[in-house]
């Protein structure tokens, strides 16, 4: 009886799935077809707003991101104002290259996509330069020469870069890039000394560690931490370029005087830096586990407040700092220091720059049936009112306006902003569509809540405020030297945007991949080696075997190319 019952249930399930499967097939085919169709023929099935037909576009970005709920409130608001919305999908469970490769192989694309060289080669993208005049917001987003730099071999422009566009001035309060981050209690204990060089920093750490080897709960303090897990290994290998006072070109040094490319991996400074790490490792100052821990373990250590100092980028340990704040560990939050190899050098950890040579960005694909509608969408997203909706949210729900016209947020608003649920159901930033950074178009406020000075102060703990004041700084950025890199005079900056597009097709790209593997393998060994010099030499041998000269030759050519593009003349070799 029971068996028969189960058998009957199975049959019902099978039969119903047959019907539903077929039914879904049909209805989803319709959806599939109409999603890539940007025209407003099926506007009725969105939002139920029958008075205005809302166009729907699709987008795929080869990055991680949060998928918004279908009934996201701000997305709806924006849609009603500008007559269009876009469903964004993000990278899941594949590498970016795999995902894009599959799209190219299938020949079917979403309306918007992030530019990659493969897509360009595949002819999947639509040239937009002829349309630009019709859409002033887009046209004015970048300057004439910047648009020029985006031209592909056939003379057309295929993408709109989304980031790095500084509106009026940068409002950066936090150092987004790399720095040596030190806990405030270390500086406070030493009386807020001037710490400029590597030696001074490590002396300070050693002294503090000797005086305070444990935390309140008895766990040991970790004076210096280096993360080198997987693609985070930049923490280990990047510093030599900064220690020499160069800005973040990412993969190489470019001398502005001679335009020559140099390799920061094998400079004297690099050797001194790693030798110093090696010495400190032997003294127990560097975490004995640094080379084998994974990212979660790294966050654990930071969150416990035990790490005194590290070389990192702020966004990577932001959540760990939040954990420190919730535990109310006094003095355990971080401020950045711009360390150089010798005292008294100029450092360029922080460089305000709007790149002269752009690449990549948002593209419209050949699958898009309404190119003008798509461009109109991008255009409208750059309206001041929409910008505020995207970056700040809805007035009085997500932020309030003070009498002086400055935006501010209450605590509940701040809590909401980090809640994943809230982000999916209410906030809509269209983060991979073009947006400004710096000032809000109203001229008074900053673009985002994070960079609003008043908001920034409110979020600081007292020990950080004390520390900043002691150094005469008001923001994290003030702790570092302020630098500006002019896009015209140094048009190659930043070189990492070029290197990011290299593949093993070219000898330079192949060399680069091998160099990365070699660095990942040897640099940790160099730091923990008993005999530094022989280990360093082994590293150099392996490094040379990768043929780095191929890589740097290719980069040098690219530097000259960029100079020629922007300044109009090519430097003589």
């Amino acid at each position: 009886m029971k068996k028969r019952f189960i058998a009957i249930m199975m049959c019902i399930a099978m039969v119903s799935s047959l019907f539903i499967g077929c039914g879904k097939n049909n209805s989803s085919n319709d959806n599939g077809a109409s999603d890539s169709n940007g025209t407003s023929t099926n506007g009725a099935d969105s939002s139920g707003d029958s008075s205005k037909k809302i166009k729907e576009f699709t987008a795929f970005f080869d990055r991680q991101g949060i998928e918004l709920n279908d009934n996201n409130e701000i997305q709806q608001l924006i849609a009603e104002k500008i007559g269009a919305k876009c469903k964004e999908t993000w990278l899941t469970g594949q590498t970016a290259e795999e995902a894009v490769g599959m799209l190219i192989a299938s020949g079917e694309y979403p309306d918007f996509i992030n530019w990659t060289p493969q897509l360009q080669d595949a002819g999947a993208l639509v040239p937009i330069d002829e349309y630009l005049d019709k859409y002033p917001n887009i046209k004015n987003f970048w300057s004439e020469s910047q648009w020029n730099s985006l031209k592909q071999e056939d003379g057309h422009i295929y993408s709109i870069p989304q980031f790095g566009n500084i509106n009026q001035k940068l409002m950066d309060t936090t150092q987004g890039g790399e720095a040596f981050w030190v806990q405030t209690r270390v500086l406070k204990w030493a009386g807020y000394p001037v710490v400029e060089s590597l030696d001074q920093l490590f002396k300070l750490l050693e002294d503090y560690y000797a005086a305070n080897p444990t935390m309140a709960d008895g766990s040991s303090v970790i004076p210096f931490e280096v993360l080198c897990y997987d693609w985070y290994y930049f923490c280990l290998e990047n510093p030599p370029q900064f220690l020499d006072g160069w800005p973040n070109n990412g993969r190489c040094i470019v001398d502005p005087a001679t335009y020559k490319v140099a390799d920061y991996n094998i400079t004297n400074t690099a050797q001194r830096y790693f030798k110093k790490l090696n010495e400190e490792y032997k003294k127990g100052i560097v975490d004995p586990e640094f080379m084998t821990m994974n990212h979660d373990q790294f966050l654990e250590k930071i969150s416990s407040g035990r790490v005194l100092c590290m070389v990192e980028q702020k966004w990577d340990f932001q959540t760990a700092e939040d954990a420190i704040k919730t535990q109310k560990l006094d003095g355990c939050t971080y401020v950045p220091l711009g360390i150089t190899i010798d005292p008294g050098m100029k450092e360029m950890y922080y460089a305000a720059n709007e790149a002269a040579v752009l690449s990549g960005g948002l593209s419209i694909t050949t699958s898009c049936k309404d190119i003008e509608g798509a461009l109109q969408f991008i255009n409208d997203l750059l309206d001041p009112e929409i910008i505020t909706l995207r970056s700040w949210g809805v007035k009085d729900t997500d932020y309030k306006v003070g009498d002086d016209g400055l935006f501010y947020r209450e605590q509940t608003m701040r809590d909401n902003a980090v809640n994943a649920d809230y982000k999916a159901s209410h906030l809509c930033t269209y983060s991979y569509f073009p947006n400004y950074t710096g000032m809000n178009p109203d001229g008074k406020n900053a673009m985002t809540p994070d960079t609003q000075p008043s908001e920034f102060f409110a979020a600081l703990t007292t020990d950080v405020q004390e520390c900043l004041t002691a150094y005469g700084a008001k923001t994290y950025v003030d702790m570092l030297d302020y630098n500006e890199i002019d896009g015209y005079e140094q048009p190659w900056y930043p070189m990492w945007s070029f290197v990011g597009e290299m593949t093993t097709d070219t000898p330079g790209g192949l060399a680069w991949t091998k160099m990365e593997e070699t660095k990942k393998q040897y640099l940790p060994q160099v730091v923990i080696a008993d005999d530094f010099d022989s280990s360093w030499n082994k590293y150099l041998d392996a490094y040379k075997a990768c043929k780095p000269e191929d890589f740097f030759a290719e980069v040098q050519t690219a530097v000259y190319d960029r100079i020629e593009l922007v300044q109009g003349k090519r430097p003589t070799e």
Binding site: E97, M102, I104, Q118, Y233, T292, N294, D296, T504, T513
Partner: protein, 340 residues
């Protein structure tokens, strides 16, 4: 019917019991050589039901498994998705040359993959079979069910979680393994397990065993249920203890299953993994941790070089096929269950 039995030599699965003078039973299973039936029209007509039943499957397999093999042509091209199979540039054996000639690395990578594959094979078989045998010995239903339910749960944890727990446990910074070893005075100071190249392969093997033993043992438990209980009865009569019964009845009873799974997994020895090695690797053990799949990811897929991935895939397929044919013949000579 009679004539059919007369023309074919029979395959009879015999269970014979040999009673030795010392009162210990040995139960032997004999398998006489397989029959070869001649392919005549008469035979085909007799078996037409079977043939008709098998035709749709053959068609299915040809379509879904063999048709995509056209894609192997990618390995001989500089494949670009935009150009497709028919217009990508033909480069002959360049990709294979890149793998085997231009980079000494790949041979080392093959060695790693093979070593980890063999270690995983041996360990997982030993533990899964042992666990199934031991569990079978438990008399009371309730603890048996409980242990079995608990055992397969780690299979559902993602590798990321398992590796995270493993790294915490082996951590030099108050990891539980170090704590225990130091307390037992086996170690003086905690050590960082992940810095030792010699240990890496075994750590990977252990992680696999930890996660998959319960799940792998399910097949063996199911096979054990098919063993004729009369055998146990008869063994009891002759005074066999539980250990003897396990060794002489249960283990041989699941031998066909063991052999089939062994044969299948020998073919998979080069597929020993990607996720564990990717998650647990670090600079110091990189030379022993890189597997073929990781290598292909770094030099192939990440560079949009699908041809390289396909070339490595062809290499793996060829090795697997050679291995299973060899293993299958070995099984045939030994008279054991085999793949074909």
């Amino acid at each position: 019917m009679d004539s059919r039995i007369a023309t074919a030599t029979c395959i009879i699965f015999k269970e014979s019991m040999v009673i030795s003078m010392t009162g210990v039973k040995r139960i032997k299973a004999e398998k006489v050589k397989a029959v070869k039936v001649k392919i005549t029209w008469k035979e085909i007509k007799k078996q037409k039901e079977l043939i008709l039943l098998s035709i749709p499957f053959v068609a299915y397999v040809l379509l879904f498994s063999y048709a995509p093999l056209i894609g192997w042509v990618m390995a001989f091209q500089k494949y670009k998705p935009a150009l497709g199979f028919f217009h990508s540039k033909f480069v002959g054996l360049d990709k294979f040359k890149f793998l085997f000639v231009d980079n000494a690395d790949f041979l080392r990578v093959i060695r790693n993959t093979l070593a980890m594959g063999i270690i995983n094979l041996v360990l997982s078989f030993a533990f899964a079979i042992a666990f199934a045998l031991l569990l079978n010995e438990v008399v009371h239903r309730a603890p048996k069910k409980f242990v079995q339910t608990v055992s397969y749960l780690p299979h559902f944890l993602s590798m990321i979680i398992v590796c995270g727990i493993l790294q915490d446990a082996l951590s030099i910074d108050h990891g539980i393994v170090n704590d225990i070893l130091v307390k037992l005075h086996i170690l003086k100071d905690p050590i960082n397990f992940f810095t030792y190249k010699s240990l890496f392969w075994w750590i990977v093997g252990f992680a696999n065993v930890w996660k998959e033993t319960g799940w792998n043992s399910i097949i063996y438990l199911a096979a054990i249920t098919a063993i004729n209980p009369d055998l146990y009865e008869a063994a009891s009569i002759d005074g066999a203890g539980r250990l003897r019964k396990m060794w002489n009845i249960t283990l041989p009873g699941i031998k066909p299953t063991i052999f089939i799974l062994l044969l299948i997994n020998i073919g998979n020895v080069l597929n020993s993994g990607f996720e564990i090695q990717y998650l647990l690797t670090n600079g110091l053990v990189q030379s022993v941790s890189q597997t073929i799949d990781i290598y292909v990811l770094k030099f192939g897929i990440s560079q949009c070089d699908y041809s390289l991935g396909t070339a490595a895939g062809i290499f793996k397929s060829i090795v697997s096929i050679i291995l299973i044919f060899l293993a299958n013949s070995a099984a045939k000579t030994a008279g054991e269950e085999r793949l074909f």
